[in-house]
């Protein structure tokens, strides 16, 4: 029973690291495509849309995994404000992982743009055409992208703080690769 309490399950760890790569790529592609009119713009946009939908699917899957298998508890000696910060930031990360793709999809729908995935597959619109909805969702997508990146930086800083300074096993709960339990220090 001990290792269930100390580490995230293997599917959860695999999802976490794969999604970390996807989401970072997504955020860099997003700001990159907004910064250029060169042909790379089209390449970036054509990756941004299907990758966003892939992240949405993975995030929903991960939410299910998380709800079913739970998470190891935070160290008992972690100060209260840090615990609160951890809980809130994790809720926010899940909300953004699921919310950002939906906002993007809704924004394209409200603008009557087709949502094209790889292989020319089209997704249906999820909102009716609307100036005001498009503007609202565009602004949200833009602002939340920067909030998302800032939150990821905070998340990385906190993970490294656990790994390098507190050395309390929180980092290993997500980072360990082996099937054995990393010893709590």
């Amino acid at each position: 029973m001990m290792w269930h309490r100390q580490r995230f399950t293997l599917p959860h760890r695999a999802l976490h690291w794969f999604m970390a790569v996807c989401i970072l790529a997504m955020l860099f592609i997003g700001v990159g495509m907004e910064s250029t009119i060169k042909p790379t713009y089209l390449t970036l946009v054509s990756i941004h849309k299907p990758l966003g939908i892939a992240i949405l699917v993975l995030a929903l899957l991960r939410l299910v995994v998380r709800l079913l298998s739970g998470a190891p508890p935070l160290p008992a000696d972690l100060p209260g404000p840090m615990k609160l910060g951890a809980y809130l930031s994790h809720y926010a990360l899940y909300a953004l992982m699921i919310g950002m793709p939906l906002i993007g999809w809704g924004m394209l729908s409200a603008a009557s743009y087709p949502v094209v995935l790889f292989g020319g597959v089209h997704l249906p619109p999820i909102l009716p055409p609307s100036d005001s909805l498009h503007t609202l969702l565009w602004d949200a997508h833009f602002c939340l992208a920067f909030a998302f990146f800032a939150l990821i930086l905070l998340h990385v800083a906190a993970a490294l703080f656990h790994a390098l300074i507190r050395r309390d096993g929180v980092f290993q709960a997500m980072a360990s690769v082996s099937s054995e339990v990393a010893p709590a220090e």
Binding site: V31, S35, K38, A111, P114, D131, H134, L160, I165
Partner: protein, 353 residues
């Protein structure tokens, strides 16, 4: 995993520095990607800003260029001949709903029609397979410049207070002479229906066997063009083009033949300022039939971005750099005007299609 062996205090300090460096590098890489360290990178915002009129007031709620226009609906009647070039359903014999916008190449939505040299058409054709083809065409036979960067510089030069700006620009971009010759010598007409609209940019068609063909397309009017001196057009009132097309379509549908021109190997495909030789293979792929005209404020074209990179499967962009630049700039123009919808109110309560 770093497992420091130093004394705890030094180890903590070193770890904090390491964390700060990692986070700092991440933030810097993000800022670099966003172009914050690259003021010379031409962004969609800069390109759209360059359309701002000399008085500094963009046309709030309107497209930032081709701001004056009128909506139409109709059908595209494909004759099936285009299927030899592209497997897109829009070229299979049949009738497909079309929606578009006849417009003037100006950032002023109130420009008198006789004052604007470039006329255009935005067109969207939808097919039952759920695909869409959007294109925005203009009446000159070639584009003014070779690259999006040059186009940006042209906008800056034409808005510049320096009296020599255009001369300097033309010296650096001699390709603009051909456009200038067209603008000065081509006859004006009294009707949107008498104009030929040219896609100018090259695209790649893929046929059923997977073979690629690099093409450009044009819409050739069925109505016979009648040259009218611009001075005479000026006497017809500020909106004569919109009145004319409304009347004509009320009388009878107006038609254009869509002609696809296929490049030969070795033709310049990346530069819309260079026409292809006139002997290139052309294929008539169908007829656009305009059946109804609607004013823009409540019309179905108002909220469509005629982004030339919205293409059906079977059509894709080529090495021509313009469609990407246009897509980026059109999206920005769309973002701005939809955020300003209150400055361009609808006249009917709710006529959204």
């Amino acid at each position: 995993m770093v497992q420091p062996h130093q004394s705890p205090a030094r180890s903590v300090f070193a770890s904090l520095v390491l964390i700060a460096v990692i986070i700092g590098c991440g933030a810097a890489a993000f800022a670099y990607t966003a172009g914050w360290f690259s003021p010379h990178r031409l962004t969609p915002n800069q390109l759209v800003d360059a359309f701002t009129p000399p008085d500094g007031h963009p046309p709030l709620g309107h497209r930032r260029n081709h701001a004056k226009g009128i909506c139409f609906t109709g059908v595209f009647e494909a004759n099936g001949a285009g299927s030899a070039l592209s497997h897109a359903q829009v070229f299979a014999r049949g009738q497909y709903p079309a929606l578009g916008r006849l417009n003037l190449g100006t950032p002023d939505p109130n420009a008198p029609d006789a004052t604007v040299r470039v006329r255009g058409m935005g067109l969207q054709i939808s097919t039952p397979d759920g695909q869409e083809w959007r294109t925005a065409m203009i009446n000159p036979p070639i584009f003014a410049v070779s690259t999006p960067q040059a186009f940006y510089e042209l906008l800056l030069a034409s808005g510049s207070k320096d009296p020599n700006a255009m001369k300097t620009f033309a010296a650096a971009h001699p390709e603009i002479a051909a456009f200038g010759a067209w603008a000065n010598s081509a006859p004006w007409t009294g009707s949107y229906a008498e104009e030929r609209y040219n896609g100018l940019n090259s695209f790649v068609f893929s046929d059923g066997s997977g073979t690629d063909h690099i093409v450009r397309w044009s819409l050739l009017p069925a109505a016979q063009p009648v040259p009218v001196p611009p001075d005479d057009l000026a006497k017809r009132g500020p909106d004569f083009l919109e009145q004319d097309i409304t009347q004509r379509v009320r009388g009878a549908p107006q038609r254009w033949t869509m002609v696809v021109t296929v490049a030969n190997p070795g033709d310049t495909t990346a530069d819309p300022s260079k026409a292809w030789p006139p002997d290139r293979r052309t294929v008539d792929v169908g007829t656009l039939v305009v059946q109804q005209i609607e004013p823009e404020p409540d019309g179905p074209c108002r909220d469509i971005n005629f982004d030339p990179t919205v293409l059906p499967s079977g059509v894709r962009t080529s090495d021509d750099p313009f469609p990407a630049a246009r897509s980026a700039a059109y999206a920005k123009s769309y973002d701005r005007r939809t955020a300003e919808a209150k400055d361009y109110p609808r006249t009917a309560p709710d006529t959204r299609p």
